[in-house]
Every structure is written in structure tokens, then in C-alpha cells.
Amino acid sequence: MTARHILLLAPLLLLLAVAYLLPFLGVMQWSVTLPEPGLGQYAAALTDPLVLGVIWRTIRICVMVTVLSVAAAYVMTLIWVRGGPVARVVIELCILIPFWISVLTRAFGWLALLSNKGILNTWLQHLGILSEPLTLVRNEFGVVVGMVHFLIPFAVFPLASSMRAVDERVLMAARSMGASRARIFWQVFVPMTRGGILGAVLLVFVFALGFFITPAILGGGRSVMVAELIYLRIFQSPDWGLGAAISVILMVTVGALLALMLRQVRGADR
């Protein structure tokens, strides 16, 4: 990177420092000073069954969401990048239209579709397929559906760039050596897009950790995730020290995962 590059980046770095880094340092300070100096809040957070339960649920949901969204996005991106012209347009619309709709609207859309008296359950009951409605929202399943739907577009973009970078000649070489289509896909194509997969996993997982609105609406008040718990600790039953400690634990977890993934990605590129 030259000095000019750094100069061009400076406004962004400055903004990040002022808008994110400084406030976060403040939060870190709270976590070790409120209500009294020391690491008491971390000990409290890491022994409190509520906090631990919420962190565990958050990670479990986020892992599920990440696997499902990246897998779905992989198929969609494959069609988008390598499919016929009609399929491309369809996929493009499927990715872009939800991308432009607000997260609230989408959550309520899922409610209208999947609730007990929603469109899907009503149809299935009218057709005689079901006698009792399926509970599809206002539980963890609903949260996962809503989050996957929200996050697929974010997985598509890193996947698309890595798929576009795949050298066609390598695939042709594999075919000329007599490899089957399945074998080319699994042993040549997928490994070559590993960087994109890891990028997508990372982006989706980190994004999912901070989800607030979707779980609140689609979880039926039951699936409290860590972002909502932090909100509760900072605003509702004020215990800033504990709220800050949970935030820092979340940040450290995210940071560690990022570092791990980056090492993996570098390994994959080598």
C-alpha cells in the first residue's frame, strides 16, 4: 500500500475511529469500572445462567442460520453466475428484491405467511393435508427462517466474486481427463471457491450475532438473543457494567472467529 492509498483511506479510518473505536473503548471502560473497578462483571456474566443460556442460544441459532444461508446462497449463486439468461434474471430478482425491503416488513411478511392462522396453514388445512396448524413462527424455527431469508443476499456477493474468478480452463481440463460432472463440482469447483465460502460464512455469522428485530418479532418473545439482552441491561434494568461486559465478550468472540477464519482463508489461497 502506498502513501496515497492510505491518504485516500484516511476519511474512512477516521470515521471508524470516531464512530466505532472511541465509543467501544468507552464500553470497555464501563465493563471494568461499573459499578466498581475490577473484573467482577465478567465473572458475573460468565457464571450467570441467563447470560450463558442466551449466549449459547445465540451461537446455536447463528451456526444454524449460517450453514443454511450459505448453502442456499451457494446454489443460487451457482445458477446466477453459470446458469442460462432467464435463470439469471430470476435469481437476480430473488436476491435483490428482498435486499431492498426493510427488515421489519419482511419479518411481518413471514408472520402473515406462517402464523397459525396464516396463509400457509390455512391452505394446508383447507386442502385437508393438516388437521391442526403447524407452529412455524413465534418460536426458534421462525427466527431461523427469518434470519436465513435476510442473510442470503449477504452470502451471495462473496460467493459470486469467487465463482467468477474460477478459471474455466481448469474445469475443461478436468472434463477432458474424464471426470464426471459431480466429481468436477465437488473436487474441482467447490475447493476453488473456498475463499468465497469462508468469506460468506464469516459475513453471515458475524452479522447474525447482532440480530435484534427479527428474533424479537418472529421468536414470540421466547428466543431472546444476546443483542436484546445487552439492550435490556443497558436501557431497561440498568446495569451498564454487566451490559458492557456482555458486549465485550461478544466482541472478543467475534474477533477470535474472524482471526481464525482469516488464517483459514489465507491457508486456502496459498
Partner: protein
């Protein structure tokens, strides 16, 4: 950053323009000045210095309009002080953040009395000046050191009237009885009133509720929660759950009762029996920018029964001043949570208990409902 500040200033402008106090042309000039100056990082100090105003912070939605209609306009006329509505939600943590910043931007908050007491003991709220605010215009037992009673609402049972027409529910025990009253239920996500409901259903006498036996309440809830389709977090959510037929019974805020009855065409009805009365209150932040005296004056001005009826008609809040009850005709009094007939069959929440125990009890509650 600058966002909230700009929003505030734009709000002031819009309010004034809407009231015809400034011309459309001034409005545009002001807008340009504001946007221009803040883009340069120069805050509109001139505009701030001349403004004689109080900032009243409530919970957003239609509340701002109603507060302005009921109290704000009359106060401006009487004193020349503009009362600006801010819907950003004065949670206990947000109030603490305002005071701790050293330069609070808020004057008066629509606050839970138990939060105001907890904050007051930390020196973050002004004590209510009962020489200005009239205790005689409040219901007995509802004036606190750091907040003044301003309205009431209840946690009440609303039910599917089409389904339970012949034998409507009468008690919390009925709410928890899915054999007699089949169907799903919906309850409040943040605990208040739900502990009381569970204990009443479990056979605790109304006058023996406090101090709440949280363990017993949670055992009752743990055994019952499979029948709860959703723990709602906001009034509109509870309403849609009932209107969509997702639950056959819900514990809702009484402020929603009339709306639900109307929107469902009478298919969803409500009862007052064993309802749990919650008080709302106004409190003043320590070292508030508009001055303590002006804020107390505003609170006192909001005690007039006629003004409180505006709030009742717009938001369904029960009047704090008992003199207002008698001004309502029977068809309206039916929706008043503190109408003498309705009050008699309900139980007021115990604010000192909430002040001491709400935080830890809520933690336990969340553990139970999300387990």
C-alpha cells in the same frame, strides 16, 4: 453524533410551522440554515438560546400528538413555553445516561414510578414539588417522591368472544385453564403483571399478593408456558395476535381494549375482573435544561381533569385526577381503568415491590419463558 440533535431542531421547526407560528418561508429558511450549519459542524446555538421550551419525553407512536393536544398547546398559551414532544423512550438506562452526561437534553419524562424512585435515590431525579403539584388532584396512594401520578392503565384479560360467548372468563384462574377455555394464550414479555396473574390463578388471595412469591409464580408459568403462543413486547403485537385468532385469550394493556373491541367488530371482548392496575407518572430530570420550576408548573397544569380526558379519549389512559371520572358518560366510563366500578374489581401493582425486585425477577422470568 449529530442525528438526534438535528431531529430535535427539525421537530421544533415542524411543530412551529404546523401551528402557524412561523411562515412557510421562514420554515424553509430555517431548514436550510439548520441543515447547512450542522453539515459544517456549527451547532445552531442562536436558535437554541432564544427558545423557551421544555422537552417532554414519551414512548413514541401517537403519544406525542396526544400529549401535545392535551397538555402542550394549553401550556404554551398560558406560559409562552413550548413543550416539545420526544418519542425516544425514557427507559431507566436512557434517563441515567442523560443525567450522567452532565448536560441532559430532557426535562420531563413519562416514567414508571418505580424507576423514578430508584433513579431519585441515586440523585438523578428532582423531587416533586408538592407545593406546586397538587396532591389533592391525585388518587390516594399514587403520589411518589420523584414522580407524580399522570395516568393509569391495566393488565386485563381479553378473550375471543365468539368462542366463549356463553361462558366468558371471569378470573385469572380461567385464563390459566385451557380445558375450560381451549386455545392458545398470549402474555407480556417483560413480566409486569404476569407474576400477579399467575399467583392469583394459583389461589393466592388478592390482598396477600405482596411481597410476590416469585418462585411459586414461575412454577405456575413453567407448567403453563406451552399454551402461550407468544410473549408480546408491544401493544400492537398483542392486538394482532388476538385479531388473527392466534390466541383465544391474552393479557393486554387496557389502553388497547377499546381498539381491539372496535377492530374485531366485537369478536374480541375484555373484562376488568382481577385486572392489574399500573400507574404512569411524570418525573423531572436532575438539572433539567428548562429549569425545575417550569417543569413542575407543567406537571401541575396537566392535573386538570378536562385535559386528562383528552388523553383518555386519544390514548385510552385512565385519568390520574379522580375528579375526571365523573365527567365521563357511561358508554365511555366502561373503558376507564380507574372508573370506581372498574377499580373496585382490580388490584393495583405495588410500586415499592417493583422498585426493589423488578430487575432480578425479570431475569428469572426471562429464563423461564425462553428455556
Amino acid at each position: 453524533m449529530n442525528g438526534p440533535f438535528q431531529r430535535d431542531c427539525l421537530d421544533i421547526l415542524k411543530t412551529r410551522a404546523a401551528r402557524g407560528q412561523i411562515s412557510r418561508r421562514d420554515f424553509t429558511t430555517g431548514l436550510a440554515l439548520l441543515l447547512g450549519s450542522s453539515a459544517l459542524g456549527l451547532r445552531g446555538t442562536a436558535a437554541m438560546a432564544q427558545a423557551k421550551e421544555l422537552v417532554f419525553v414519551n414512548w413514541g407512536g401517537d403519544a406525542g400528538t396526544a400529549y401535545d393536544e392535551a397538555y402542550g398547546k394549553a401550556f404554551l398559551e398560558a406560559t409562552g413555553i413550548t413543550v416539545k414532544q420526544d418519542g425516544s423512550g425514557p427507559t431507566e438506562g436512557a434517563i441515567a445516561a442523560q443525567v450522567e452526561s452532565g448536560k441532559p437534553a430532557w426535562d420531563i419524562v413519562d416514567v414508571d414510578p418505580f424507576s423514578a424512585e430508584a433513579l431519585g435515590k441515586k440523585g438523578m431525579m428532582e423531587p416533586i414539588d408538592y407545593a406546586v403539584v397538587d396532591k389533592g388532584k391525585m388518587r390516594e396512594g399514587f403520589g411518589w417522591d420523584h414522580s407524580a401520578s399522570s395516568y393509569f392503565y391495566s393488565y386485563i384479560i381479553a378473550y375471543d368472544a365468539a368462542k366463549f360467548k356463553d361462558n366468558p372468563p371471569k378470573t385469572m384462574a380461567d385464563f390459566f385453564d385451557v380445558e375450560k377455555y381451549p386455545g392458545k394464550r398470549s402474555m407480556y414479555k417483560w413480566g409486569v403483571g404476569m407474576w400477579e396473574a399467575a399467583l392469583l390463578a394459583d389461589g393466592v388471595a388478592a390482598d396477600a399478593l405482596y411481597p410476590l412469591d416469585i418462585k411459586r409464580a414461575h412454577d405456575k408459568l413453567a407448567a403453563f408456558k406451552e399454551h402461550v403462543v407468544a410473549f408480546w413486547g408491544g401493544g400492537s403485537e398483542s392486538q394482532s395476535i388476538l385479531l388473527n385468532g392466534e390466541a383465544s385469550m391474552a393479557l393486554i394493556w387496557s389502553t388497547r381494549a377499546k381498539l381491539i373491541e372496535e377492530d374485531s367488530g366485537g369478536d374480541v371482548a375484555f373484562i376488568w375482573d382481577q385486572g392489574l392496575i399500573a400507574p404512569g407518572a411524570m418525573g423531572v430530570l436532575k438539572n433539567n435544561p428548562g429549569g425545575k420550576d417550569a417543569a413542575m408548573q407543567f406537571i401541575a397544569s396537566a392535573q386538570e381533569p378536562e385535559k386528562q380526558l383528552v388523553m383518555f379519549r386519544m390514548l385510552g389512559q385512565g385519568p390520574a385526577n379522580p375528579a375526571a371520572d365523573a365527567l365521563l358518560p357511561p358508554e365511555e366510563a366502561r373503558y376507564n381503568p380507574v372508573d370506581p366500578a372498574n377499580f373496585a374489581v382490580q388490584i393495583p401493582l405495588d410500586m415499592p415491590w417493583y422498585e426493589e425486585n423488578y430487575g432480578p425477577a425479570l431475569d428469572e422470568y426471562l429464563k423461564i419463558i425462553s428455556a
